[in-house]
Symmetry: C3
Subunit: 350 residues, 3 copies
């Protein structure tokens, strides 16, 4: 899969400063590049890191300069990042095509319906009455529960679990280890301890949704937990029972959405964010990383903070907090000037 620098420079319509026969085996960032890798300098502020990079060549902008003694070959182009990205396809490792058909080492219930163009790999397990659409791939060890319905061109990676009755649209991608349709977390006090609330609902996932690895999405107590069309969910996210996520949302890793909360279309959640249960988040709301949305949020709100509020307000609080130790001293000074005795609580100031 090696390409030489001359060919690459021609493909990019770039100007090569260096040996055109140098062979490039892969693409990498400045920090992780190794011998044989081609990298790029997308912004001037990264230029100081070039000396430490082990890349064999760099794509750079017109204005880029190296130390006089630097010998690393350069390809000069107008837009280095875009040029680099245009090479991704050329360097992509070949992926073996998934053959269509059902592996003899898979287990498929007699009453399941698998499209002839679908692919079911070894040790996958498909329950009674399940329907798998055209060109969908079910990887090794995935479990598709009974009466699950999966659309076309979906990819269920190894060891994904879809529990009974879950429904997926078309072109849904679910990464390994993710569990969709486990019971919601609901109990009520009983005589002998907590009694389980039965969860008879299900989960419905819209077209073009992608869900990361080790995500958990609980089935509804009744009705359905829904993930809207085009929404993207990162790894290790928790979506509780009866949650309604809108369309085209982006939810970063380790976020938790509590039960019965609704999230409007186009919302963005940073990593390790969370919502309380039964709150209503409007459309196009941004929750910063770690924001904790304990109340309803209106359309377009930008929320920040562990017990989140509007970003402007919360950032002011955060900035003020940094001045608090100093403020304690200042108030003590004022009290002294006015002859007020220092209160006990202040003795450890600073």
């Amino acid at each position: 899969m090696a390409r030489n620098l001359g060919d690459i420079a021609r493909r990019l319509n770039g100007q090569l400063d260096g040996d055109p026969t140098v062979e490039i085996h892969g693409l990498a960032g400045l920090f992780d590049a190794r011998a044989g890798d081609l990298s790029f300098v997308g912004e001037v502020r990264y230029a100081p890191f070039v000396a430490r990079s082990r890349a064999s060549a760099l794509i750079v902008g017109p204005e880029f300069t190296t130390a006089p003694n630097a010998s690393i070959p350069l390809i000069r182009v107008a837009k280095p990042a875009a040029a680099f990205e245009s090479l991704l396809d050329w360097f992509r490792p070949e992926r073996p095509a998934s053959p269509s058909g059902i592996s003899p080492a898979a287990f498929v219930a007699a009453s399941a319906s698998i499209a002839p163009t679908a692919c079911v790999h070894a040790h996958a397990n498909i329950g009674d009455g399940a329907v798998v659409g055209d060109a969908t791939i079910v990887h090794a060890g995935a479990r598709i529960g009974s009466n699950v319905r999966i659309g076309r061109q979906c990819v269920l990676h190894a060891n994904v679990v879809l529990q009974d009755h879950v429904r997926l649209g078309d072109r849904v991608v679910i990464h390994s280890g993710t569990v969709v349709g486990c019971d919601g977390f609901g109990y009520r006090p009983g005589k002998a301890g907590l009694e389980k609330l039965e969860h008879i609902g299900t989960v419905e996932i819209g077209d073009d949704v992608e869900i990361g690895a080790c995500v958990t999405i609980d089935r509804a107590r009744f009705g359905r937990t829904t993930i809207g069309r085009g929404t993207k969910i990162d790894n290790l996210v928790q979506i509780a029972h009866n949650v309604q996520i809108g369309e085209h949302c982006v939810i970063a890793a380790q976020t938790g959405i509590s039960g019965s909360t609704t999230v409007g279309d186009g919302c963005v959640f940073g990593g390790q964010a969370a919502t309380a249960g039964h709150v209503h988040i409007g459309r196009r709301v941004t929750a910063a990383a770690r924001a904790g949305l304990t109340k309803d949020a209106p359309d377009g709100a930008v929320m920040f903070g562990i017990y989140a509020g509007p970003v402007r307000e919360k950032r002011r609080e955060e900035a003020a907090l940094r001045k608090l130790p100093d403020l304690l001293k200042r108030v003590r000074e004022l009290e002294k000037q006015l002859g007020i005795a220092d209160s006990g609580g202040a003795t450890e100031d600073g």
Copy 2:
């Protein structure tokens, strides 16, 4: 599985305002209901959302009124939420009964002992000397390590992993992707780097415990990590080595309990909460969502805050923090009145 409104109203002893032949296919909440669903209005504050609901009919209280032109059929009862809940069983989708016996596509070690009424599904894997009790179900892809002991009427969902020597009581339910009995996280500095501390202990889980999906429970360094009878654990929770969780606790999603910590009976943890290691949490302690319990907590304590304290105290701090930007201004004003020069640290106030 469709029921008509007339039959439903009769079953509920309710008064039907609408067409008794309307067919209902499922139950759902106001927000996620679709055509064919029956929903309910449990509290007056939800009434404004009725206009936006797509439910085909509603169960409502005696005092409920809709807009004059509304045409949605209503069933009036004294207690709408309870009436709705009483229908769950009637609408529950049929679950295929688990047949007893061992799937020919399962792998069961010759020395394992499986009760004749137990069910072991395809691609489940049961190790040497493991014991599986009466009417217990081991779903597809679950791995039961060697010498594991599982009681009666347990359910191990698809792809659960129980490592060697783990013990489960009766009626324990473990959801998919959960791993019980992995090694604890312990190392000591050695000559060539960190050396692993061997974990020769195990995990014991009491009767009637339910554990969510993608939960990790580490085995003890020695002795046992224990989860007490009747405790319920949500998805993506981490329980470290040598932790002792009491009976009838409730631990919400994404919480982490650090090594060697003990948690008394009847404690409740909100989502994304945590404890430090080696702390002792009393009985009936409540940890709010995201509470970080860094110290011991006495029986009955209600803990709040990232570095948690008693809820009353921490809420006062949180309220005070919201006034801090204003306080900075007020102190500057006082300093001005007293002729004290503004300190450098205050120049960015507000």
Copy 3:
């Protein structure tokens, strides 16, 4: 596996106060010990808990004293904790040796290369062109993608997933449910919604790395996500695409490292910590539990706080925050003395 107290005392060169024929079946901590267990009192502050322990015997230091009426047998040694630890090996339950060879119930692609001394268990699944080194064990239900390379003496626990092209060094241990090499979380706005950024890179994991259960490590967009030699990662950790983790780091449970961040050698992250994306963490940096590293951190920094800063500074802020409700009152008092009207914002003080 029972040993009697006389034998144990002799092995430890300890002095036995009690019946040498008492049989010991296991080792346990003071809090979780049961009848038949031997425990120890490592520090004097644990002595008060002895009365509540159910251990059958204790290893104690020379100065240890019990209540006069206590009848628990004691073994006195100079260093109780070390003596107790020296017994771990003796009491370790036997683990069945992994036979070498490929289970007939495993699926191994014809083009994969499995060392003759490696062991591939039932329902494991190994893709085209994968290479598995000497004495490596692939447990039940693990999926090894195509062209993955695994070194010697590695252990891949049940249901681990390594996606295509991932590379592991020697002696790497990965616990159950962990997914290495899933796609990074990257999209760009397109006409019909978010468009997926292809991730053509991979993940490389150095020698002697250990990774806990249900961890997710994303493949690089290009180049490689790397985990340096000797690093240890706890359960439920998220490592995003293009992250570079150095050597001999320790990353506790539920931590998240965001995309393209670099972490130097010898760093330590407490539980539920996090970094922002594209930040550079130096060598030997300590991030306290829950620390959120939003900016670059220099070598040796000790970082603390949700939006983390140097520990000294952040602890002062935290301490000051506890005095804030009192400070509000003090400022109101000052204002009163100077005849300044109380501002509206202060009316809810305390």
